[in-house]
Symmetry: C3
Subunit: 271 residues, 3 copies
């Protein structure tokens, strides 16, 4: 798929030239790496959550990213203000449903946030399947029940596809293979490295990077796929320089800053 790799690389260059302001309401663990990943790759991150200033801030941001990682009632209220502002202003926002499926509180938070119509939902396979159950249960007027023991890739892909079609958004289920779909189109990307699962909040930071691409490309599917491509290739390249999760994180941030469109073209693996 040479066209896609070329388009992803071009979008990386556009994003860097634009240096979009990405507003993040994210969890306390991800604050540092998410801001540093965005800065390194060439975007301008802002961590702003106060309801008093969020509508004003959303107005001049390129995109909004909401992550429910270290959730609390106060932060959830802030997320609603931000997401509803973004929706009202026609700005794209991405939802990272960290831990969806783990508790009733978290499921309720996801269900409520979905009302503000995210452009993108990005999670791991089990989180995406949980969001899918939450939406189906919400339709049925109840709470989701049952936890998938396997979350086999194909199951997650079907859930992602149906979820994207139902909500009219893009859904990305990422892991060893990243799957992205808008319900009609889909793509599997297979870069990255196993060590990425041993560094905390790299999924969160990826959603942040997706936000940077959403800010510069109207086609949400293309923007998300490009972000996944760049992030995965950078991870694969960084892993070659790393002795473990500590040095990987350092090499990865370096690589997000140095990765080029040529690197993406040379290394992208579509599965």
């Amino acid at each position: 798929m040479p066209d896609f790799a070329g388009a992803a690389g071009a979008l990386l260059e556009t994003m860097r030239a634009t240096r979009p302001l990405v507003q993040n309401i994210t969890n306390f663990v991800a604050m540092d790496i998410q801001a540093n990943a965005l800065l390194a790759i060439g975007a301008s991150p802002a961590m702003v959550h106060a309801p008093e200033e969020t509508p004003e801030f959303v107005a001049f941001s390129g995109a909004l990213v909401i992550n429910i990682g270290t959730l609390s009632s106060q932060w959830l209220a802030a997320m609603h203000v931000a997401a509803s502002s973004a929706h009202a202003m026609g700005k794209r926002w991405a939802l990272d449903p960290v831990g969806a499926g783990a508790t009733a509180y978290r499921d309720g938070a996801v269900a409520a946030l979905l009302a503000h119509r995210p452009a993108l939902i990005r999670g791991n396979a089990s989180e995406i399947m949980a969001v899918s159950r939450i939406v189906r249960a919400s339709d049925a007027g109840g709470r989701p029940n049952g936890v998938d023991s396997v979350n086999a890739t194909s199951e997650a892909e079907n859930a992602a596809r149906a979820l994207a079609a139902k909500l009219g958004c893009v859904v990305a289920a990422t892991g060893a293979v990243d799957f992205v779909t808008d319900g009609a189109r889909d793509m599997r990307l297979a870069n990255g490295a196993p060590v990425m699962e041993r560094v905390t909040a790299l999924g969160c930071a990826l959603t942040g990077v997706c936000g940077a691409f959403l800010a510069v490309e109207k086609d949400v599917f293309a923007a998300t796929a490009a972000a996944l491509a760049v992030y995965g290739v950078a991870g694969e390249m960084a892993a070659a320089d790393a002795a473990g999760p500590g040095s990987f994180r350092v090499a990865f941030v370096d690589r997000l800053a140095s990765i080029t469109a040529q690197d993406v073209a040379a290394r992208l693996t579509i599965a």
Copy 2:
């Protein structure tokens, strides 16, 4: 003490095979390194503090770790919900009394949290002595007064032993030499490296790692001693690769991921 080193290494392998879920309510400074240390060593960390979901979350966690570092009334309330849930469910929890003795507010928080019966209290020598004073003052119906000017090791050891016996828990006072006791048994471990005092939140992350061992070993004293052993040996090995606190932190996370039972057996220093 070859038996202990062997047991500690075996417990490390058991912990990695089990990959226990450790719930952490920790301070904002420690969030990143505590999660990354737990992930690197092979556990599954979760930073969850909302009272709305904590009881549900505690139920499927292997252990709970509470750290009062960047305390506030809202977080303290969350800690009470979590610790009381853990106590009610018979789950072990570890208390990291950061800054105990510094202010009346902090001392009151420690006194109140102790009612939920932690399995382990881990702090530096002066924090452990402060907790000891808090417990004694609480018995006498007053506030602790006087600050130890010296915190000589032997003084801290006596305080730790008495505290452990009185509360029926394990107490670890860590530093250049780590002292761990359950009131009857005790042990001194002397690995680690001076640079560890120049990296923030490594004590907090250690309490997190203790949580991972508590999740897989019923003998709290043995679990804690094993965690201290592995952490100290990893620190000593990482220091050999580091040029300062920045590179130490990176090397340490790498080493937590790569340290083996053999490393522990070969290097453990019992003082």
Copy 3:
């Protein structure tokens, strides 16, 4: 200006010998790097914000640093308690007006915090110009309007000088060239490295380091200029060892720990 470099190096040594306790109320992104920068350079950082304990804590701190990065009403209330305590006790405090000028909420927060008379305000050029507008608008009974499109250095310098004179404090506008002034004296320092703009919260951490110097030198202008000198030279030296923003951050923390008075004397560039 050999005298200044020598004085800055001497102050670094004094600070390390004193190991001042610096209380920080800072944003969630900066928590980690600000604490680690302070620890590395030789100070003793504490991140404490609870109104219940802040007045007690301020009393034995060497200095207080307040950063409005991830602002919320609760944290703003805590900042007021801390800053007013510091002011009442005659302790110096430094304000980092992150994002000043971005929203009305943020501008209002800055205006209100200024009532507690910071000894130092440190920000980038556009933040310092925003604070200047906030103060002028406050005098005129209104809200600032207009955003400077250019923030040319000379414009920022004039704003800083007028602000310092009006408030009776020191103002530092940092960037490729750092400008520091107390309204009468001023200095331009030109060390550092471009990569520093690609690592998040290094400005926040710098304000923290300024706090460490304020704790040991009564002349706020001299203290701030020395902190800027040491930080800039450390950054320049670290950049020589770095392949990107990830490895720079690691090398920078190492260098903050190892930088000597001789390094400052040999490399300081006054512009």
